[in-house]
């Protein structure tokens, strides 16, 4: 019940999808659509786990008065305040939309853009030429950056052509090899899961 049940569910969930897809099993019953919908609905509900975990973590911070506990208060107020408004109204109108447009979209792109400063400092350390590999990585990155930006062609005519060749030939070959390897690895893992050989997900759910 505690171990065999979930393993049977796991194998069945995969096999039903595979048989519905390849052999059209249950097509008249709309099996594939139903299975997709069940997955979307059940997995969507798990989003609350993230909210609960955040609440537990930050409520502990507040109760124990840890360092920066005031930030935890702000997080909890913002989370539950926005949740109440967005569930009561909708995310696409009123105050939730106002906050989304002015705060969330702005903060998202600002946080992403800030990473560029840390990437540059990390790149400076990483690309100091210690080996052939580091030199090649740095060289390709510089060629790509200058090739994408207009300054590359302005400084050296034809620079973007070099960038295009790098992207179309060696980069594509490397990426295709990586992708084929990743697909094969994903298949191997999927088969191991369906056969019940991969049981890592069974470890955290009780004694």
């Amino acid at each position: 019940m505690r171990k065999q049940g979930p393993m049977i569910i796991c194998t069945l969930a995969g096999l039903i999808l595979i048989f519905s897809r390849y052999f059209q099993v249950g097509r008249d019953l709309g099996m594939l659509t139903t299975w997709d919908r069940w997955f979307m609905l059940s997995s969507g509900m798990a989003i609350g786990v993230g909210a609960i975990n955040l609440t537990i973590l930050h409520a502990k911070n507040v109760m124990r008065r840890t360092q920066y506990w005031q930030s935890s208060v702000i997080l909890l107020v913002c989370m539950y305040g926005y949740m109440a408004l967005a569930i009561h109204q909708t995310t696409g109108a009123g105050i939730p939309l106002w906050i989304f447009q002015s705060f969330m979209v702005t903060a998202n792109s600002t946080l992403f853009s800030m990473v560029v400063f840390f990437i540059f400092s990390a790149a400076f350390r990483a690309f100091r030429i210690r080996s052939r590999e580091a030199a090649l990585l740095g060289l390709v990155a510089i060629i790509t950056m200058f090739g994408v930006a207009p300054i590359g062609d302005a400084l050296i005519p034809g620079w973007s052509g070099l960038k295009d060749w790098l992207l179309d030939v060696p980069n594509m070959a490397g990426f295709r090899g990586i992708q084929i390897g990743a697909y094969l690895g994903a298949f191997a893992t999927a088969i191991r899961i369906l056969l019940g050989l991969e049981r890592a997900h069974m470890g955290g759910g009780g004694r």
Binding site: K3, A13, I18, F39, A51, M79, E133, L184, L194
Partner: protein, 199 residues
Amino acid sequence: MTQWQIIVAGLVTLGLYTYLWKDNPIYRTIEHAFVGFYTAYAVAMVYHNQVKPAVLNDLIRDGEAIVLIPLILGAMIYLRYLPQLSWVSRYPMSFWLGYGAGFVISYQIQPLIQQIRASFIPINSVNSFLIVVGILTTLMYFFFTWTVKDPVTHYGSKIGRYFIIVALGATFGNTVIFRVGLLMGRMQFLLFDLLRIGN
């Protein structure tokens, strides 16, 4: 955006950039509010797009009792917070994992075959030769099943490493450029929209 929205967006942008000086309460406040807002946003989206239509439309209006199965299955994940019943949360987890495994086998065969087919090209130029050699040697690099001692695979995997480095270097360059683009977007917003300078 309205004028007030522009002011709030400007303050958020400037407040977050204060982190470049050092960690400070303004940055922490905005960062924590951001995490809180986005979590709530995700929960509300799932509620409005998944749960509400399933309960109100399918279950109550159309009387489709079968929709209770995924709803109960999804709710079972919350039993992980009750130590005596936490094992029940393995059921939804197993369903998702099994579905994911089935999805990979059902839907990812096609892109794999497309990649392999695209690799079978006539070797009639230096570029096509480099592409074929690059793919084969990269695959040799990822061969971990047993220790390889033959010289072709041994040296092939070494060459493959250079192709992987080129791919990673190009990805790094593109990532930096994308982030620089975002930074320019924020600077343009601060100058043109908030301060109304130069536009």
